[in-house]
């Protein structure tokens, strides 16, 4: 799963730790999501979308292959 979380985070000048604190997860989780190594649960995906005031599919896109 691809995502543009690093860009959205940068727009708001947030570190991974800051975003993690806002979402109530660990920094490692934010890092893993950004690197595409971990797909968040639906609950967390909704929370992320809610935080950035957009839809889940605006942030997360399925891999093409």
């Amino acid at each position: 799963m691809r995502n543009d979380l690093p860009e959205r985070r940068a727009e708001r000048d947030l570190s991974q730790g800051d975003l993690a604190e806002e979402l109530g997860v660990t920094r490692q989780t934010v890092n893993s999501i950004e690197r595409g190594r971990y797909n968040p649960s639906l609950d967390l995906a909704f929370e992320i979308a809610d935080y950035f005031d957009c839809r889940i599919e605006d942030i997360f896109q399925p891999d093409e292959d």
């Binding site: 570190s15 730790g17 604190e21 109530g24 660990t26 490692q28 971990y38």
Partner: protein, 132 residues
């Protein structure tokens, strides 16, 4: 602020794992060396410090990613154990039937432990599948 959160979290997670490892090694090692009470003491102390640290931490030390990792690791563990048990215990039973193996204290305890564990696993699977 940014790197502070990361460092704090990383240190606490490492400390959490380290404390449980130290406690477990102390328990096993000191018991083997004939100092069981010292082992229990160190284990208890490490456990209290680890849990206290977790409770007192203001951020999130563990989350859904950790739960996913543990689920996957548990799956691998039980899978490997199932494969090994499916070969080892029938083999030992066969050898016992042929009079070439005697069930000792440790092998009997291991067999009952594995059987008990899979009974719990089967029960848990039944309950969870019933709920979903």
């Amino acid at each position: 602020m940014n790197s502070n959160i990361a460092t704090r979290e990383s240190r606490r997670r490492t400390a959490w794992a380290g404390l449980w490892i130290v406690g477990a090694v102390a328990l096993g090692g000191l018991t083997a060396l004939g100092q069981p009470l010292a082992g229990v003491g160190i284990y208890t102390l490490a456990a209290i410090v680890a849990v206290g640290m977790w409770v007192q931490y203001s951020g999130k030390l563990f989350d859904e990613r950790d739960a996913t990792i543990h689920k996957q690791a548990s799956g691998y563990t039980i899978g490997i154990l199932a494969i090994v048990s499916a070969v080892v215990f029938p083999l030992l039973t066969g050898l016992y039937g042929l009079g070439r193996f005697e069930w000792g204290t440790w092998t009997t305890a291991s067999a009952f432990l594995v059987a008990g564990m899979f009974a719990i696993y089967a029960l848990a699977t039944l309950i969870i599948s019933h709920r979903k």
